[in-house]
Amino acid sequence: MTRPRSSIDAPLWAKGRTLSFAIAAVSGGVLDPRGPIAADNAQILVNALAIMLAIVVPTLIATFVFAWWFRASNKKAIYRPDWAYSGRLELIVWGIPLLVILFLSGVTWIGAHDLDPARPLAGETKPVEIQVVSLDWKWLFIYPEEGVASVNEVALPTDRPAHFSLTSATVMNSFFVPQLGSMIATMNGMVTQLNLKADRPGDYYGLSAQFSGRGFSDMHFVLRALAPESFAQWMADARKSKAPLDEGAYLTLARAQTTSPTQFYGSVDQTLFEKIAARRLTSEAGPVSPPSQAME
């Protein structure tokens, strides 16, 4: 009953492989930030690491020194077989970790508030609105104000922040562009918020961080940070696509249980995202029943 599912794996991942050659994937990672959020995340990571190293390094040194000096064969070391308590040391033992964590808690509190994904970025420029839907196993991006949509490729101008509203048509995923910072979960029937900005033009690798099933490994996309004029050009190119993203086109896309090549839709049903998020438009009969062994 369940076994035949394996037989449909082969074509799927083979397909994913050829596709990925088209997407030149480069990931500089979270310590090579290309936007303010990623930079702040990385900074807080480095700060917290430095604070802890201040206590960890002496602890490790003490471990090795004690372990070496008090070895049984060292006749110079003083043996104190009954020494098991010292009030002064107890004070240090409790005090030092407490102080470090108090300090770190301050960092945590401020950081969690400043870098809350839902918090709009400072600045007066109006953010680009982008709606994101995670599908089995691809990403749909809708620009409601521009009226275009794309699959597995998303563009941002470098002079404006972007505000993402995210949901999932199927299972949970997580939207993540390592070089721009903060990931956020996409969940069915819910909308999460994320604010990001790209500082420099470039193609950045994006992927799902939350395991979502068979085609999960192919669920990556390109985030193109473009200079303002290039962004306008990208928009214009996308708008040239004849295909509209209406309910029918969406359901076709959502029900295809594979990843997808980059696609563009020149016009978009403006209420589509709300309908998906509110579950008024659902693609799920679940995955289609597995094809028979005949595929081989």
Binding site: M1, T2, R3, P4, S6, D9, L12, W13, S20, F21, V26, S27, G28, G29, V30, L31, N41, L45, A48, M52, V56, L60, T63, A67, F70, A72, Y79, D82, W83, L89, V93, P97, V107, T108, W109, A112, D116, P117, T170, V171, M172, P178, S182, M183, I184, A185, M187, L207, S208, A209, F211, S212, G213, R214, F216, H220, R279, T282, G286, P287
Partner: protein, 670 residues
């Protein structure tokens, strides 16, 4: 007749599980044949399968855990090698198989390797350290073990009959719901864990009762060994947390079997409810595992430094502190689900507070070494490596507890490296230290030191070479559970990790060789004294292996480290304390209840998984009949005659007197 089960449930098209399954099947058959032909079956049945002796049950738990550790490790090797070859390539494991492997790896390692070894060590040592003859509920203890074995069996059956879950080790809905996981994989997961979860719960109840109510005369709380304290904290967590796991999994099972909507996308289900519930169990679970390991390290540091544990009271407070705080941090497993800044900050800070109490423990272990005479035998090497490794893993854990840092690292290989760093560095090293430390007590001979040290160094190097590259890959944005990938920057780190796995594999091999060599050379490695490590707690007061009744006379405890005090008195006076009048000792009788219950639980579980309802019914009837039969018993104890007690204790006293004379000569000569 057979529900969803057909001949196609066996993966005829997949050589790896088929060959592995066949090999295990043949090996088991050979072992069974050997047992039957050699006539060992009655012995096995009498002395092990139906035994309610906490020491025997402890040994069986550890054995089960070690075998499952090997199984989980093979999964790990497959995952790492798959990722090593699956760069711009499909690799050798298709997603259907790869996803089962990482799900099985996590499930097996946590529930059927780490838990059984930890529970086994508690089973073996806690009653001995408390100076008593058994746990509070011996038959319940046996039942708990066999139900755990049922869970392990079901997970392994899924290798060749059907499939295992492809959802990760925690089956997050909606992925684990019927529309997205229509196969039997998630059902195998659910029934394996529901059944073994009942077993774990029994253990928790049993040990909380034992430690609170069954202690030697004079063994007040503040005289208990640190291992007993951490065992108490761990079992309190089991009692409070495992019902949450069971309830959550039952809700998921109701969704899958009866069309409920607890966690579904439709019908008002809330998958975030599952995520919250599973982690209110899941976070305490990590401390259920690591607290007893902390206890083992405390014993080892103190014994091998030749000093009492430094800051005993602080250690007790820290253990109970961890027990409490571990309930207030679960949300740090999903900061990225958009809970909001206040919630994230509160849970982030609560998580860092655990680092304070853990830091206290680390410092106290350091000061236990300070002023000591440290003997570097294998348990001490594991403990020292634990301190260094755990401090590093704790540090990356605190990094992940800072929400903005977690936003960039969650679900990445950095996270994977972190929890392996603390679980291997803490729990696994603790298990190995505990096994080497208590092995001579359990079997009467030591493990071979040379092979033990070889295993230690290979495992240690293997750990660092595997997981520090994974930290780097995570910082480069590589997320977990990828069956293939295309990012060139990740590749070198993944290849480095394979080298580490090779070291770990040699380490595993050394462990097996160590066991074989030690059994072969058991005559030379014999522990005649019962006190091979110059120990301090009560388990070293009896002989190795201890008699069924543990102690001829329950020890009269007059302070901390009772056995150390007895030993010092004996050395001072050059005499053992006088023996009293030997009396017959009543011990619990063997019972097949546990084994029978687990047999029927296996039948129920298998029937539920494959929708074979008559089988479920038969299993329920059988299990209930077994309980009734047990409840109707007339006698549940047998008496060890006074003469037998005298004979066994006489031998022990002779060995001790010899040891005393030998030591006196040595110190006289010096």
């Amino acid at each position: 007749m057979f529900g969803k089960l057909t001949i196609n449930a066996i993966p005829w098209d997949q050589p790896i599980p088929l060959i592995a399954g066949a090999a295990v099947g043949v090996a088991l058959l050979a072992l069974f044949t050997w047992v039957v032909v050699k006539g060992h079956l009655p012995y096995l049945w009498r002395e092990w399968i139906t035994s309610v002796d906490h020491k025997r049950i402890g040994v069986m738990y550890v054995l089960l855990g070690l075998v499952m550790l090997l199984r989980g490790f093979i999964d790990a090797v497959m995952m790492r090698t798959q990722q090593a070859v699956a760069f711009h390539a499909p690799g050798y494991l298709p997603p259907h198989h790869y996803n089962q492997i990482f799900s099985a790896h996590g499930t097996i390692m946590i529930f059927f390797a780490a838990m059984p070894i930890i529970i086994g060590l508690m089973n073996f040592s806690v009653p001995l350290q408390l100076g008593v003859r058994d746990v509070a509920f011996p038959t319940l203890n046996s039942t708990g073990f066999w139900l755990t074995a049922t869970g392990a069996l079901l997970v392994n059956v899924s290798l060749v009959v059907g499939e295992f879950a492809q959802t990760g080790w925690l089956p997050y809905p909606p992925l684990a719901e019927l529309p997205y996981s229509p196969g039997v994989g998630v059902d195998y997961y659910l029934w394996a864990l529901l059944i073994s979860g009942v077993g774990t719960m029994m253990t928790g109840v049993n040990f909380v009762t034992t430690i609170l109510k069954v202690r030697a005369p004079g063994m007040s709380y503040m005289r208990m060994s640190m291992f007993c304290w951490t065992a108490l904290a761990s079992n309190l967590l089991i009692v409070a947390a495992f019902p949450i796991l069971t309830a959550t999994l039952i809700m998921l099972a109701l969704d899958r079997y009866l069309g409920f909507h607890f966690f579904t996308n439709d019908g008002g289900g809330a998958m975030s409810l599952f995520v919250n519930l599973i982690w209110t169990w899941g976070h305490p679970e990590t401390y259920i595992l690591v607290l007893p390991a902390f206890g083992i390290f405390s014993e080892v540091f103190s014994t091998f430094s030749g000093k009492p544990l430094f800051g005993y009271r602080s250690m007790v407070i820290a253990s109970l502190g961890i027990c409490l705080i571990s309930y207030c941090v679960w949300l740090h497993h999903f900061f990225t689900m958009g809970a909001g800044a206040d919630v994230n900050a509160v849970f982030g800070i609560a998580s860092s507070v655990i680092a304070v109490v853990t830091g206290v423990k680390i410092f106290n272990w350091l000061f236990t070494m300070y002023g000591g005479r440290i003997r570097y035998q294998t348990p001490m090497l594991w403990s020292l490596a634990f301190v260094v490794t755990f401090v590093l893993g704790g540090m990356t854990g605190v990094l992940l507890a800072v929400p903005p840092a977690d936003f960039s690292l969650h679900e990445s290989l950095f996270l994977v490296a972190h929890f392996h760093n603390v679980i291997i560095g803490g729990v696994v090293f603790g298990c190995f230290a505990g096994v080497v430390y208590w092995f001579p007590k359990a079997f009467g001979f030591r493990l071979h030191e040379g092979w033990g040290k070889a295993a230690f160094w290979c495992t240690l190097i293997g750990f660092y070479v595997t997981f520090f590259p994974l930290y780097a890959a995570g910082l480069l944005g590589m997320t977990r559970r990828l069956q293939h990938y295309e990012v060139a920057e990740w590749r070198p780190w993944i290849l480095a990790a394979v080298v580490g796995v090779a070291f770990s594999a040699v380490g595993m091999l050394c462990q097996i060789i160590q066991l074989v060599v030690s059994i072969r050379d058991r005559a030379q490695l014999r522990d005649t004294t019962g006190d091979p490590w110059d120990g301090r707690s009560l388990e070293w007061a009896t002989c190795s292996p201890p008699p069924a009744f543990n102690f001829a006379f329950l020890p009269d405890v007059k302070g901390e480290e009772p056995y150390w005090a007895m030993k010092q008195r004996a050395i001072e006076t050059q005499h053992l304390a006088a023996a009293g009048e030997y009396q017959a000792i009543e011990m619990p009788k063997n019972s097949a209840t546990g084994f029978m219950t687990a047999f029927f639980a296996t039948v129920i579980g298998f029937g539920m998984i494959w929708h074979i309802w008559w089988m479920v019914g038969a299993g329920l009837v059988g299990a209930y009949a077994g309980v009734v039969w047990f409840a109707w018993r007339d006698e549940d104890e047998y008496a060890v005659p006074a003469s037998e007690v005298q004979r066994i204790d006489g031998e022990r006293r002779r060995a001790r007197e010899e040891l005393l004379a030998r030591n006196a000569n040595v110190s006289g000569a010096a």
